[in-house]
């Protein structure tokens, strides 16, 4: 989705007048995801008696809080054309160590506990980032390695002991059921509200701050970003640290949600986070995708997850099969819709080439590149 990136990087919105009805591609993705979520909810409400209940809403919002934070964390790294497969292990390590600290210090305050989890996560993320950015080891290799290293450290550190809920300060265990406020009978949990705030703040930062735009720039074209003088290494390191810190926060949420933490806590969450980001329209090739999209991807997966078990006609064993099909459908739809929009965008942009000098050269190169990419879809002549 290079088109919208370029527009955003140079701070140019579409000029009014000529394209008054213009919608940016990522908004289309987000809106269509929202549409799919609504459709899914409606379908399930026909299949399941008493589907819309306060309890169901609570169950979805508490469980989505964790995957949403991880999806957002993963997205920060993926937009730079990297990936972090160690987030599940980071969740495990931070949840376990924070739990261990809190259970041996019963007077631990929320601020301290969260600071430990986030700080620890940031540290582990920094290790990933240094190896990737300064050691020039591909992210998939680095984080595949640290996935194993962090987990095996935790297993030998934990010696098979479990952190139990009753050893934790009561505020930790009570946190998931705390309600921030209620709207029309639906309780908005504190945890969910906090996560929504995090997503919105980071989304605005990614869209408006130089830091965020630069992350997209690196992912769109690392060489060009380096040529343009961006401190690519430092930015990638920053993305990994942010990802680790958010994963640490997710570890804290994991601790408070489950209370009982074993050394295998969080195993497999890395794939869930990538899946949520991908369903949310984030391109694993970097440079494209929004945090709100990743959040909605996490919500959609969670709604399906929590709803399928309640449909009497569908056995619980269908969960993964449906999820896999969903991811594939999402990315294929993304390619098809994205192609159409890009074509329209480049058709519209061409008459304006003089106005936005920085935009036109990328346009000129993009159009043939696009057709080449499209041809790749067909068998070679």
């Amino acid at each position: 989705m290079t088109a919208a990136d370029v527009a955003g990087l140079h701070g140019t919105r579409r000029r009014p007048g000529r394209t008054a009805v213009w919608i940016r591609p990522e908004r289309v993705k987000e809106l269509s995801l929202l549409g799919v979520i609504v459709v899914a909810l409606l379908v399930f409400s026909f299949l399941v008696d008493d589907y819309f209940s306060g309890r169901f809403f609570n169950r979805v919002t508490t469980s989505v809080a964790i995957t949403a934070v991880l999806a957002v964390a993963q997205t920060l790294v993926i937009v730079t054309r990297n990936i972090d497969l160690s987030v599940g292990s980071i969740v495990g390590v931070t949840a376990y160590l924070t739990g261990q600290f809190a259970s041996s210090n019963p007077s631990t305050s929320p601020a301290v506990a969260i600071a430990i989890a986030v700080g620890l996560g940031a540290l582990l993320g920094a290790i990933n980032g240094v190896i990737v950015a300064y050691g020039r080891v591909p992210a998939i290799i680095t984080t595949l390695g640290t996935l194993a290293i962090y987990r095996s450290w935790l297993i030998s550190h934990g010696e098979g002991k479990t952190i139990t809920a009753d050893s934790l300060p009561s505020w930790v265990v009570d946190l998931p059921t705390r309600t921030a406020f209620s709207i029309g009978g639906l309780d908005i949990r504190v945890v969910f509200a906090v996560v929504v705030v995090i997503v919105v703040v980071l989304q605005v930062a990614m869209q408006r701050l130089r830091w965020g735009r630069r992350l997209y720039a690196i992912g769109s074209n690392p060489e060009a970003a380096a040529q343009a003088g961006l401190p690519t290494r430092r930015l990638v390191l920053g993305a990994f640290i942010a990802c680790g810190a958010l994963s640490g926060f997710a570890g804290f949420l994991f601790l408070s949600r489950f209370g009982n933490i074993t050394v295998v806590a969080g195993q497999g969450l890395e794939l869930d986070s990538v899946a949520a980001a991908v369903v949310g329209g984030v391109s694993v090739l970097g440079g494209s995708g929004t945090l709100v999209g990743a959040f909605l991807g996490a919500v959609l997966i969670d709604v399906l997850d929590q709803s399928l078990v309640r449909v009497p006609q569908v056995s619980e064993f269908w969960r993964n099969a449906i999820l896999g099909a969903l991811i594939l459908a999402a990315v294929i739809a993304d390619v098809v819709i994205g192609r159409r929009f890009r074509r329209r965008w480049s058709a519209e942009a061409r008459p304006h080439t003089r106005v936005d000098g920085s935009g036109d050269e990328s346009d000129a190169t993009r159009v043939p590149a696009l057709t080449a990419a499209e041809q790749s879809g067909r068998p070679d002549a």
């Binding site: 990936i83 190896i131 050691g135 020039r136 080891v137 591909p138 998939i140 290799i141 680095t142 595949l144 390695g145 640290t146 996935l147 194993a148 290293i149 987990r151 095996s152 450290w153 297993i155 030998s156 794939l271 990538v274 899946a275 991908v278 391109s283 694993v284 090739l285 056995s315 064993f317 269908w318 969960r319 993964n320 099969a321 449906i322 999820l323 896999g324 099909a325 991811i327 594939l328 990315v331 294929i332 390619v335 080449a372 990419a373 790749s376 879809g377 067909r378 068998p379 070679d380």
Partner: protein
Amino acid sequence: MPEWTRERSWELLLAVILVGTIVYNATQSPVYLDVDNFVNLFRLSIEKVIVAVAMTFVIINGEIDLSVASVMAFAACVLAAAHESGVPFGLAIAIALAAAASAGFVQGLVVAKTGISSLVVTLAGLIGFRGAARVLLEDRSIGEFPDWFGDLGRADFLGPMPFALVLFLVMLVVGGVILHRTSFGRRVYVIGNNADVARFSGIDVARVKLVLFTMSGLVAGVAGVLFAARLGSVRANIGEGFELDIITMVLLGGVSIFGGSGTLLGVALAICIVLNLRNGLGLANVEANTQTGVIGALLIVSVLAQNLLDRLPLRRREAEVEA
């Protein structure tokens, strides 16, 4: 002359590590150098090792297949489900292999025709085919296969070697010839180096990718069936997480994750290192889980070392060019 390539120096480094590991292990245990012990090393990981051969092709081609472990389980579950419903066992195996090959074919089709990153497509496959396995067997465990099938998995087939190990060695040789001595093999490298250049040179990129993913699925299916034979019973969760071990072996073998470089010999050496290292660490009373951590560290360090190696000979070669 590129006689002393990056790949050669990498293979040499691997060989040194391997010899070091073997010598160290031999001093730790008197039975270590027994042929039986070596066969045993392979016996317990033979399915992963077989899949690693196919994965080497896929990664050199510039793609990745995360779905292999799920396709293994899928094939094993198809076999078990067919067996349970009374299909003759030979036919059940054929159905299972066909199912696995189609799983690879479908993913290859999506990758080749839409240009979507194989990381995403096969992530969907990882989740989806595991799901399909679960749909087939739910939470049951199916066993009671024919005796000859159990023998296929456990008994000695050639000398002290079980069938799967013989198959692996054959695959290694045949794969090596295809990859390094045929025009198909050259095409795999060219596409991995630069798919656009390959396309403009008239290579049918989509077809090569389709062939590789179908092969990857088929090989994963064979591994899944052999896994079922060795275990004697099948559950939907068999082989979970194998994909990471398999990819680790291939990357440790010096295959570039970006495609276009690496050799099957390197991968074979890396496989031996991983198996010997695990065994040696086991002899030294290091727990299995710490072994996993050590192999993770080895993976990172190996690429760091490659980066350093890359820099040294490159400068030397540039100096030669200038002279």
